[in-house]
Amino acid sequence: MNRFLCSIVLLLTSITGLSQTRIEGKVKDTKGRPVAGASISIKDSYDGATADSLGGFSFVTEEKGERMVLVSSIGYLLLERPVTIGSSTLKLDLQLKEAPDELKAVVVTAGSFEASDSKRTTVLNSIDIVTTASANADVTGAIRTLPGTQQVGEKEGLFVRGGSGEEAKVFIDGTLVNNFFYSSVPDIAQRGRFSPFLFKGTVFTSGGYSALYGQALSAALILETIDLPDQSSANIGVSTVGLNGGYQHLNKKKDASWGVNYAYTNLLPYFELVPQRPDYFKVPQFHYADANFRFKTKTGGMVKFYSTFQANQLGLRNADIDSAALKNAFSLSNQNLYANLSWKEKLGKKWRMNLGLSYSNNLDDIGNQLQDQDDKPIAIQGLPYVLKNFAYDLRSSLAQTKLVMERKLKGLSAVRFGGEYLYFHDRLEARDTSFRARSLDDHFKAVFAETDIYITNDLAAKLGARFEHSSLLSRSNLVPRISLAYKLGNLGQASLAYGMFYQKPERNQLVINTNLDYTRSTHYIANFQKVTSGNTFRVEAFYKKYEDLVKTFPGLDNSGYGYAKGVELFWRDKKTFKGFDYWVSYSFLDTRRDYLNYPNSIQPNFAANHTASLVLKKFITKWKTQFNASYTFSTGRPYYDIRYNSNEDKFAIYDQGTTINYNNLSFSVNYLPTVGNPNAKKFVVWVLSVTNVLNQDQVFNYNYSFNGSIKRPVVPPANQFFFLGCFISFGIDRTEDVINSNL
C-alpha cells in the first residue's frame, strides 16, 4: 500500500517537475525606457525573475493555466497582468507606469526658496539659517544671502526685487505677523524679534507666491514653528550682549510639551568696549519672555501655542543736520505682545484642516527732541526745527483667524480653500495734545482657493484665486495666481508663474486719506532648476509691474507706477570640495518707480543693480569647531535730494549720486568642546562672530539738510559687530546630533 502511495506522490512530483514553461520578455516604462531591476513574479509562487539592465528577463515555471503576473519596481505602480501559461514559451511585453511620487514629482519652484528639515529636497535647511556667518542668528539675515534680496542697512525689512521693506510680509504658522521686526530707529536697520531656533521650516518667496497669502506686493516669508522637542531640557546662555535661560518639558508619553524662556539684552558693556557713532543716552535694553505648549491630538493632529512678551527701550543722540550747534535726541520705548495658536488636523483620509488664531499688540512710545550743546531741550519756531520736537504713542493691534481646508485628489493633486479675517486697530496719539488722536480700524476679510493639478508626474499646475475686502478702503479685489512646472529629463525642471498682488496703502497714508485704493503688482517669473544629490543650480528671470502706487504729491492718490525686472542665479555645492559646503547667489535688478514725492520715475534708493553673496561652511573635526564665512557685495545705490520747489509748486531732484559699493566679509566660529564626550551631562556651544572683518566703509544713503546745503552719509552705528557667547543645555545630550551633522 505504502509503495502504491509513494509512487502516486512520485508521479505527481515528476509530472510537475517535468513540464516547465519559459516566460520571457521586457519591462519598459511609458517612455519606452528599460526598467532595470524590476521584479517579475507569478502570484502566489516562488517563480519569477529580475529585469536586467536592458529590461529583459527570462525564467521557467511549473505553474500552469490562468495565473497573475506581478511586475513591480521602486517608483512605479504595481502592474498585474493575467496570463495563461501553456506548454510553449510565453512572451510578455510589460509596461510600468510611474507612481505619483512627491519626491520625484515636479514641484513649482518659480519664485520660492524653501528651507526645511522635513522635506527631503530643499535648498537650505534650518541649520543653515543659524550658521550663516553674516546672519547673527537673525532669520532674515540668512534670507539676505539668497538671490532677489537687497543689502539695505538703514532700514529693517526684506527689500525684494525692487520692492520696499513694507512690500514683504512675514507669516508664522499661516498667519500674518504685524511687527516682525523691532520698531524702527532712524537710519539703523532693526533685527527680527523671533529666534531662528523657533522655526523648523522656512519658505521664502521672492515673487509669485500662493493664493493662501496676500497683502504683500513683493515677497512673503512663511515660517513654520517646531513641533514637540526631542527631550526635556534646560538651557542657559551668557554673551557679550546679555543672558538667557529657559526650560522645556516633554511629558513621558512624548505627546505634549510646555516651556518658558527669558532673555535679557543690555548693550551697555558692549558699547563701552566698542565705540558707537551715535551718543546713546539710553543704552538699548531688551526683555524677552516666551511661553509655549504643544500637544498631539488623539487623531494625530497637532496643536501649538506660542506667545512672547517683549519690552525694550533706547535713546540716541546725533548732531542735527541743519545746525551745527544743535543735536537731535531720539528715544523709543516698545512693548510687544504676540500670541499664536495653530491647530492642524487630519479629518478622515482625504481631508486636512489648518486653523490659525493670532493676536498681537505693539506699543511704540516715540519721541524726538531738539537739544543744545548741553543736551538741554530747546524749542525753535519755523521750519525745519518745529518738526523736530515731537512725542507720541503709536499702538497697533491685530487679531486674526485663518482656516484652510485641504482635500487630496487623485495622485498628488489636491485642492485647498479657506478664509481669513483680520481686525487691525491702529491708534496714534500725541503726548502733548498738540493734535487729536487718530485711529484706524480695518476689518479685513479674504477667501481663497488653490489647486495643485498633476497632469503627469512631469507636468504640474497650481491654479489659485483670492478675493479680499477691506472695510477701511471699502474696496474689494479678486486676483488670479497661476504657476506651471515641467520636468526636463531626470534632474532639471522649468517653472513659470504669473500672479497679481494687492496691498493696502501704509498706515500713515491712510490716516490722511482713507479714500485710497489698493496698490498693485503683477509678477511674471520663469525659472529653471537642476538639483543633484550634492548641488543645486537655479536661474530665474522676472518682470514685475507696479500700478496704483501711492503718490503723496501733488495730491495723495494712487497715481504711482513702476516696474522691476532682473535675472538671478543660485548655486549651492556640497560635493566638489570635500568637507566644504558653499553657496553663491547673484542678482541683477533693473527697477524704476514713480511714487511718494518722486518728481518722475527713478531708481529708488533701496535698489542696487548688482548684488552677490558667497556663503561658506566648514567643520574641522580635530578642533571640534565649525567655521562659517560669508561675503556680500553690491554695487552702490542711488541717493537723491528731493525737495519741494515753492516757485514751481512741485518736487524736484536737487542733487543725486550713487553710494560707494557695499562690501561685507563676516566670520563666525562655533566651538563645541563637549562633542564626543559620551559622559557629558551638558552640551556646550561657544559662538564667536565678527561682521565686516576687513573694516570696509559702508554707506547706505545720504541725508540732506532742509536747504540742501549740507549732505551727510548714512553709515552703520559701528563698522563692525563682535559677538561672543556661550550656550549650555542640560539634560539633553546632543553629541550624537552634532557628530552626525558633521560626518
Binding site: 506581478l70 521602486i74 526631542d230 544629490s533 550634492g534 573635526t621 562633542v675 557628530i739 551633522s741
Partner: protein
C-alpha cells in the same frame, strides 16, 4: 475502504506539505547563498526580488520579508546615487514592518534592520538629518541588544558606527576595534534558531577589524 482512502488523502496532504516546506527551506537556503553575489557585485536587487516572491507566496513566514528588507537596505547603502537611497530605504521599511507583523512583534534582528534603515536615510544628507535619524538608529541598536543580548549584529553595527565616527567625537579605530572583537567572539558562539535565521555580519566585522590595525 473509506478509512484507507482517508489515510491516503492524509498521507498525500502531509507529504505535499513536507514537500512544500522542503521547497521553502531549499529556496531560502539558495537565496541566502545568492545574496553573497550582492556583496561581490554591489547589486542586491535580484536577491531582494527573490525573497519578496517567496514572502508573498508563503504569507506566514517573516524571514523572507526580513531578508528582502536586508537586501534593500544593503542596496541603499551601496547605491552611489544619493537621490535613490530614500526610496530604497522606504521600500526596506515597508518590508520590515510586514516581517514584524508576521513575527508577532519586534525582535532583535528586526531592530537591527530598522537601525540600518535609519542610517541609510541619514547618509543621504547627514547635516540636515542628524536630528531625526541619528538617535533613531542608535535607539534601535540598543533595543536589539536588549531583546537578545547574545545577538552579535547590534554590537557589530555599533562598532561600525564608532569606526566611522572621528576620534575627537569618541569614535575611531581604537574604540571600534574591541567592539569588533567582541562581536566576532559573539558570532562564534551565536546559535541561530534555524538554518534560515540570520547569520550575516562576521566576515564584515573581520574585515573592519583588519582595517583597524
Amino acid at each position: 475502504m473509506k478509512r484507507i482512502f482517508g489515510t491516503i488523502v492524509l498521507f498525500i496532504v502531509v507529504n505535499l506539505a513536507n514537500a512544500q516546506s522542503d521547497k521553502y527551506t531549499s529556496a531560502m537556503s539558495k537565496q541566502i547563498a545568492t545574496m553573497e553575489n550582492g556583496y561581490q557585485n554591489g547589486d542586491f536587487t535580484p536577491a531582494a526580488n527573490s525573497f519578496e516572491r517567496i514572502a508573498q507566496a508563503e504569507k506566514e513566514q517573516w524571514l523572507p520579508y526580513y531578508y528582502a528588507a536586508y537586501c534593500y537596505v544593503m542596496q541603499a547603502y551601496m547605491d552611489k546615487d544619493n537621490s535613490k537611497k530614500d526610496a530604497i530605504a522606504d521600500k526596506a521599511d515597508s518590508l520590515i514592518r510586514r516581517a514584524e507583523v508576521l513575527a508577532g512583534g519586534e525582535n532583535s534582528e528586526i531592530c537591527v534592520i530598522k537601525s540600518m534603515i535609519a542610517s541609510a536615510h541619514m547618509m543621504v544628507d547627514p547635516q540636515s538629518r542628524w536630528m531625526q535619524y541619528g538617535p533613531a538608529s542608535s535607539a534601535q541598536i540598543e533595543k536589539a541588544k536588549q531583546l537578545d543580548p547574545t545577538n552579535p549584529r547590534p554590537v557589530y553595527l555599533e562598532a561600525q558606527s564608532k569606526f566611522y565616527t572621528p576620534e575627537q567625537f569618541g569614535g575611531g579605530k581604537s574604540v571600534a576595534a574591541p567592539l569588533f572583537e567582541k562581536s566576532i567572539a559573539m558570532f562564534d558562539t551565536f546559535q541561530p534558531k534555524s538554518s534560515l535565521h540570520p547569520t550575516w555580519g562576521k566576515r564584515a566585522a573581520e574585515y573592519f577589524l583588519a582595517q583597524c590595525k
